[in-house]
């Protein structure tokens, strides 16, 4: 779990986009830790949300993830 969280945070810091889809995060994790299951990535992402390191970004129809403090973090 901790290594998946680390891989997610590294990706979230490095990626050019400030918001990304779940499967982009999943692919990035698999690059570092092949064979990681989607459910494990989800669990780790949820833990990071609860630790307030990641945030959800929702358009209403789709949801993306982002690193807290990067890109738009305030209301419009």
């Amino acid at each position: 779990m901790e290594d998946i969280k680390k891989a997610i945070l590294e990706f979230a810091e490095k990626t050019k986009k400030t918001k990304f889809y779940f499967n982009e995060m999943e692919k990035a994790v698999r690059k570092v830790l092949p064979d990681t299951k989607a459910r494990a990535v989800k669990k780790a992402a949820t833990a990071l949300i609860n630790e307030e390191k990641l945030i959800y970004f929702s358009t209403g129809s789709t949801t993306m993830y982002g690193l807290k403090g990067r890109g738009q973090t305030e209301d419009f």
Binding site: Y21, E24, A38, S58, T59, D75
Partner: protein
Amino acid sequence: MAFEPREEQKELKYDELRIYSDEELNNYTEEELKNFKIKHDIPMCDDLEKGPWPSFVADSKREALHRKNLAKDRMMIDCDVVEDTLGQLEESFVDGETHWKHGGIVGVFGYGGGVIGRYSDLQKKFPSIAHFHTMRVNQPASKFYSSDYLRSICDLWEYRGSGLMNFHGSTGDIIFLGTFTEQLEPTFYELGHVLQQDLGGSGSNLRSPSCCLGKARCEWSCIDTQDMCYELTHYYQDELHRPAFPYKFKFKFDGCPNCCVASIARADMSYIGTWKDNIRIDQEAVQAYIGGEIPPNAGAHAGRDWGKFDIEKEVINLCPTNCMRLEDGKLVINDKECTRCMHCINVMPRALRPGTDTGCSILFGAKAPILEGAQMSMLTVPFMRCEPPYDNIKELVEKVWDWWMEEGKNRERLGELIQRWGVPKFLEVLDLPPMPQMVKEPRSNPYIFWKEEDVEGGWDRKIEDYRIKHMR
């Protein structure tokens, strides 16, 4: 089957939960309403009030007046919110475009859905709707409420939001329309801790499952839609609140093929109650329909004189599979050919009833996008038993999700993924054999492409030989 709640349920009593007194709730007269003008000029909105139908503009004006007459400290957001909503709507009509901006990071802690950020792009002109976030409240199964519950949530939303609501959004939720960011967490707290009420799904989540009236009120229900809806809503809480899908995913449960929640048209996974055995026939009641003693369609179209009921014309000849006939005055159905369309049962409910060996058909892939048009779901599992704890159904759900999460592109619904990969691939994923009922239009397209290993003895035919004579 008696309802067994997953957690202890408190009895909600409005008298203990109410925020407003009767005087505050009834704070204007009809006379005052007639003379009431909102602070913006809205001729085009006013026009929508004309005509015979109820109008949201008229409703909004009532609410605007009600808020105007409430003491300012009795509402947590500006009392002008409804007037500004109408004012901005008028501007949108004039400009021919919306003045709402959607999306953002608003939400309640730990949930990836249930709140949709919305902001005005005319905040200077309409400051009270600078924020106008929407909250989705997960409706109870079949939308059965007590009036104590309804009054309590109305008070809550008057106090913490605009007072405007939709009953219900197209996925089924109660929609709370319009509040400021600071009010989201307190509203969520009140809903969850006081009213025992969860938020629904939005974004790339499982959306709030919804079901028809089912066995609670409908004698046609072949499955306990409410129980299934409740069970799967609880079992898949994580999928409902923590988004990890490529896009939205909807479950809908219909007790019979009448499809009152339109699962076939709107759910990625539609559950439709059906029966395996024969339609139950009461021949005496059939005669009573023929003799005009019982009105057809339970009297539903009695507003006009349609002439004498004609069983040949109105039932037998309209059976889509031509599987009914009268034999010596008795109604006979060849049940093997019946597609369970419900027509005959709807017309003569006292004479015909669904069978008793019941379960559900499962269909996949419907969606109703505004731009590309609707797509109906495809019959995939003709019959499955539906008994608690529904392990057979959950197993199927998880096979589908695993595949879609792995292969689905961002913003690709399951139906589109099935189209992109083809039905044979989908069946392989589900580990189901192809069946004639699965083709898009039953019995009009006979082509199923078998793999050589699926056919006993294989074959020696080569596609190249075939192509020599049959060029593409």
